[in-house]
Symmetry: C3
Subunit: 150 residues, 3 copies
Amino acid sequence: MIDTRVSLSCVHQRNAWRLIFLPFNKLHVPQSLPAKTCRAINEELHESLVETCGVNPDDHFCLVARYHPDDILLHPTFLGERDPEATIVIEIALLDGRTDEQKEALFKDVRTRLDSIGFTAGNSIIFLLENNPIDWSFSPAGSVKSVLGL
Amino acid sequence: MIDTRVSLSCVHQRNAWRLIFLPFNKLHVPQSLPAKTCRAINEELHESLVETCGVNPDDHFCLVARYHPDDILLHPTFLGERDPEATIVIEIALLDGRTDEQKEALFKDVRTRLDSIGFTAGNSIIFLLENNPIDWSFSPAGSVKSVLGL
Amino acid sequence: MIDTRVSLSCVHQRNAWRLIFLPFNKLHVPQSLPAKTCRAINEELHESLVETCGVNPDDHFCLVARYHPDDILLHPTFLGERDPEATIVIEIALLDGRTDEQKEALFKDVRTRLDSIGFTAGNSIIFLLENNPIDWSFSPAGSVKSVLGL
């Protein structure tokens, strides 16, 4: 409840839109990647979203989908060098409206952070799919658009 | 075949577009959620789409993806109170063109229905991703755009 | 590295945009479908993308997600005849900008190819979700937009 009130007040402040980013992360990972590593990756991804895109620190949602090695079919060198068997795919559904600069900063910062926790940054692919505040609902109160008065 | 013909005739009728909604539902659920419960949730979701958005009753497609508790990383209070370990994420890919009112009605009705079958409505997150008739193909006959003459 | 250079030079050539398609395929399949069959389906899908949409042959990325029979809830006759228990859903995230003709050709060619390898084409559903070059990053070098100078 506290978080909701914080968000509600935020939208009435200058730059408040920066706080309404609503990323929903999916990590597609090899099935053997330890849960602890996935959690660490998600923490870094989230911190990066907060740092580079002004996401609310509590706006933190992720699902980890796991794949058998036979089910990961990724080219080893196209647009970068990677080890397909160790590669993760980071899929972020988010609100339309981020600038190119924010997205570039996000991509760069996520890779720096992955390296910092010992995960080879080259073994990551990131892509974004966008929608709008009316397309999200986190509670019975309705869409994010109506709940936050956007 | 009958269903196809019904749809084909529908598009020549007034308001026929209401019947061409093409939701494709994904339920992301804790792995322990019984198949029977998932099926009941999907039935309610589909009924809600029919009721609030005029979806064709036969336009019914869903996949249920399951996640280990360690792989569900959802904030417990942001924009609503939820039990992360019991929360489902409803992702609907659908045709562009729904009104805000239809989406709000859908969100509200789905939650009422979840509560009615004993599933805590707060433990659900819903989001929509949109595309167009040319982006769907349900048979070798081609895209929905060409099959239905849209 | 070689692949990256090839792509970089391509964008300076006439029609180079045709080579920048960036499909990321997800195959949603019954859990019992053999990995070998999934791989064959993905090869045909990729060949079809190359043939009908001018995709770079090295631009080849796919994940295979598996579902228990109880978790596949697909209508058996709406907009086509299918056996739900044997049906696959092909979801392609790709760059905005493909023409309707390219998409129709893709849908048709994929089905022809599925039949050619003994997979019943009717047991396939295809849908596309689109984004932009700024929404992809395949390496620490940044987004596809900046890496390829788009």
